[in-house]
Amino acid sequence: MSDFLAAQDSAGHEHAQPRSDQNRSLWGDVRYELMRNPVFWVSSVLVLVILSMAFAPQLWAETSPTARGACRLENARVEPSAAHPFGYTNAGCDMWSSLVYGTGKSVIVAILVTIGTVIVGVTLGTVAGYVGGFADTVISRVTDIFFGLPFILGALVFLAIFPDRNVWTLTAVLTMFGWTSLTRVMRGSVISTKQKDYVDAARALGATNFFIIRKHILANSIAPVIVLATIGLGAYISAEATLTFLGVGYQRPTVSWGLLVAEGQNLALAGFWHLLVLPCAFIVVTVLSFILLGDALRDALDPRAR
């Protein structure tokens, strides 16, 4: 090889300069775009706060509402006061610590579901989009099957099987009915990436399909999936609340936002507004943060939006 290169007359031709002076990668561009966006900052700080509550609630509240003696029935529904700015829940637990410790149940499910749906969606979407033909037909039809089942109905039927509802069953059911849209998006994205010339170029180099998928297809197809997943994450938090409201989500003594909202729903109208408003505020702010984060990501990832 070196002799081949040595044969080159390196003198006599000038090096063309790249046109852009900013040495940014594509992701660098995205980062740059995000840094300039106040929506991104606000939403990502909120998301960090929420995540820390989910994974390390002890940082935010001293005692878990499930700890021995943490809740006293005498305090049930006590409204916010200076000493206890968040008041007490219907079960006489401190509302703030219930909300903080409830974050985990609500958010971790959403995160797990997001991870699950992304894994399933990316895998199946890639296979369907890249391999095409029979595999595509089968995957597309299976996607249709799950898609044809309305989400809430499907979840209700499914959750009826697992009376012991915990993070895992909720994750399973939400994943089961959440993967379809990501698969479809990924499939479409892979199909368009597959047609890109650089894929042809790699094939011309003799790259194997696996190599091409790994190096080119995945990286270039996943952006819309990421955006959709972020928005989905917010939606799953909301979904947990709805399922709990319908009586197929978490059950006491678990603490989750959905449970608190469902519980506060009627009590609020009886005058205990804090029981509804506070958990709702947590859900809304969280969902809002994730959706706005997804929006910011989408804007940053979409070159046309610039």
Binding site: V142, D144, I145, G148, L149, P150, L156, V157, L269, I283
Partner: protein, 334 residues
């Protein structure tokens, strides 16, 4: 076009069979894991075994495979398919024909869905267009924020608030008033009223459509902004057309293509997902029917109704696809 429809129809078959089988397996598992739904009809006071057995036989729940956890009971599935093929969707635990139940409730849900669809489409597209035309302006940010809020609020909270503040605070005085027209009061009702089958579904329809309204507004906005940048909009301007015509005729129709796709999906979500709204506003619709059936492990209803719903959903999707083809001639002549 005919070919396109035919192909879509043929694609239905495996999807419907698949959905049916999926449901079947889920319901079989429910019985196997959770327990005998017939026994659950009676409470702490267990009835004579002979009666339970008779009931199990009545509801086709006496197969041995229902005792073996994990057994998919394929034979039951085949029987059921044959039964469905003859138009028999079984009876529920109250001895009523599932098909009849569905027919009774379906019109209500359809009305609700139609109202929600019209509302979300009209308002959603309007908001989306407003936001898209004034990108990054106040209107845009307002629409953006409020739509996200609609998405973030769990529907049951939203429904209750609407019921209280619109239905009671606003609607009740109207209904009590001598001067206000009756239809106005009925539009702002708190519960379904069979005497006003459309008007009393207005408020629930709005609640039901709120989530999708947000989605449609956002979709329209994105799509409109994208299309406004397209060459043919430039052409329309070069043709000396007014800006309202440029947007209203040349951009909007193209922008609605993804919206129409979404609506196709949404029909399914609305049909099946209406149960929360139906519960809050006491609407005897299909969603509620299924929900109650799930609570009671009323397998024949779950299977029968969800099957019909799936078919309806698929048909709705087909119609949307045809509409899609009507909007986009490039699809039509494929």
């Amino acid at each position: 076009m005919g070919r396109y429809v035919a192909r879509r129809l043929v694609q239905f078959i495996p999807v419907i069979l698949g959905t049916l089988f999926l449901l079947h397996v889920l319901s079989v598992l429910t019985i196997q894991i959770v327990g005998d739904p017939v026994r659950a009809l009676f409470g702490e006071n267990a009835p004579p075994e002979a009666i339970l057995e008779q009931l199990r036989a009545n509801y086709n729940l006496d197969d041995d495979c229902l005792e073996q956890t994990g057994n998919p009971c394929v034979r039951l599935f085949v029987d059921r398919l044959a039964q469905y093929a003859s138009g028999d969707f079984g009876i529920n635990f109250r001895g009523r024909s599932v098909a009849e139940l569905f027919v009774e409730r379906f019109p209500v849900t359809v009305r609700l869905t139609v109202i929600a669809l019209v509302f979300e489409t009209v308002v959603g597209i309007f908001l989306g267009v407003m936001a898209g035309l004034r990108k990054d302006k106040l209107v845009d940010n307002f629409v953006r924020f409020s739509t996200v809020l609609l998405i973030a609020f769990p529907v049951f909270v939203f429904g209750t608030l609407a019921q209280l503040f619109i239905g009671l605070e606003l609607g009740l005085p109207l209904r009590d008033s001598e001067r206000a027209p009756e239809w106005l009061g009925q539009m702002l009702t708190v519960t379904y009223n069979p005497e006003f089958p459309w008007l009393s579904l207005m408020l629930p329809g709005l609640v039901l459509g709120a989530f999708s309204l947000a989605a449609i507004a956002r979709l329209t906005r994105t799509s409109l902004i994208e299309n406004l940048r397209s060459d043919y909009v430039r052409t329309a301007r070069a043709k000396g057309l007014t800006s309202s015509r440029t947007v209203g005729v040349h951009t909007l129709r193209n922008s609605l293509i993804p919206v129409v796709t979404y609506i196709g999906i949404d029909i399914g979500l609305l049909l099946g997902g209406a149960l929360v709204t139906e519960g809050i506003f006491n609407i005897p619709g299909v969603g509620q029917l299924v929900f109650l059936a799930i609570q009671a492990n009323d397998t024949p209803v779950i299977l029968g109704v969800v099957t019909i719903l799936t078919v309806v959903f698929l048909v709705a999707n087909l119609l949307v696809d045809i509409l899609y083809a009507a909007l986009d001639p490039r699809i039509r002549y494929e």
